[in-house]
Symmetry: C2
Subunit: 201 residues, 2 copies
């Protein structure tokens, strides 16, 4: 039972990967990149520390360009992030021999998030099962599991130390001469999973 | 980390209990009863076969009467089932020293199902975490896990061999001289978890 899991190296996608492994799935982590930056390497680092298999899948730069258009038009990144996330899941689902796709989206997430019709559409169009291990968990539960499992570093840091697609989207906006701070809400600190605390896979 | 898990003895609530135990929770199964019938004993049977702690919690018959009123008024049991489920979760959440409440509701369930505002309201009013291990899983995933884990008996059978609250609701309707078949959709077969197949807790 192999599952391909969309992975940023953050706490949520790391916790979801752990849950999948506890349910007996063979977890293959997949980090998306548009090839602008090598920030995917932070996800690879964390994947190695946690002992998961990891691969990078490249998405067309057209998708990022279109997302940047949306972010500029909206003055807010939500639709752009949602758009990229859906394309990312589709890209993984379209890979040969992929039968299960998962991510770390949570019950309390507003974006990225696939509502039920979209989740079913993904499953039907690509003949995959779409698994979201964190969907039924609230923030308290996610926090208690994360604190039990992971050594996490929290600090103010440069955004490059993340492997989610926000980083390349910000980069592209900057290339277009747009200050990402005019579009993205400010975030003051970042957390990064450094390794297992008590449990391991 | 103790969690009190609403349990009917069926496949979904058994699978959810297994997932909770795999995540490191100490699982206490709770079956609700209105005291009309002893169909809770089927859940106790299955709980024993699976090796989980089990208890029965009695709900006021007023709740069942009110649910029966709703079912008769609507000509359909959905609102009644939803009503009982919410009261059941509240009853568990209100028990002393309960900090986590869970159930086996699925992504694809229409009822019973707590939307996000209701889920958060339950958590806030009772200061508990509400955990739904199956919420992020589609039917394919639930089927593959269930088939791997449980010996399941599927057959046409009397409804009494279930421990969900539908059974007492049907019974009360019959006591009122109403044929439950006029309100409930027909179900042709029932499945019952008999024990572990490959894995155990």
């Amino acid at each position: 039972m192999i599952v391909h899991h969309l992975y940023s190296g953050g706490k949520d996608s790391s916790l979801a990967a752990w849950i999948l492994s506890r349910l007996g799935y063979e977890v293959r982590l997949v980090t998306l990149s548009f090839g602008l930056l090598d920030n995917w390497s932070f996800a690879r680092d964390t994947a190695e520390r946690l002992g998961f298999e990891h691969q990078v899948v490249y998405l067309s730069r057209d998708i990022l360009e279109k997302a940047a258009d949306m972010a500029v038009r909206d003055g807010h990144p939500n639709n752009a992030i949602q758009f990229i996330h859906e394309r990312a899941l589709e890209a993984i689902a379209a890979m040969p021999e992929v039968g299960r796709v998962s991510d770390g989206t949570r019950r309390d997430d507003r974006v990225p998030f696939l509502d039920l019709p979209r989740a079913r559409s993904l499953e039907d169009r690509f003949n995959v099962a779409y698994i979201r291990p964190l969907l039924g968990l609230g923030y308290k539960t996610i926090r208690e599991l994360t604190e039990r499992l992971f050594v996490v570093e929290i600090r103010e840091s440069e955004e490059l130390e993340k492997a989610d697609y926000e980083v390349e989207l910000r980069h592209l906006l900057r290339e277009r001469g747009i200050d990402p701070l005019e579009i993205f809400p400010k975030s003051h600190y970042q957390s990064r999973v450094l390794g297992w605390k008590e449990k391991s896979i």
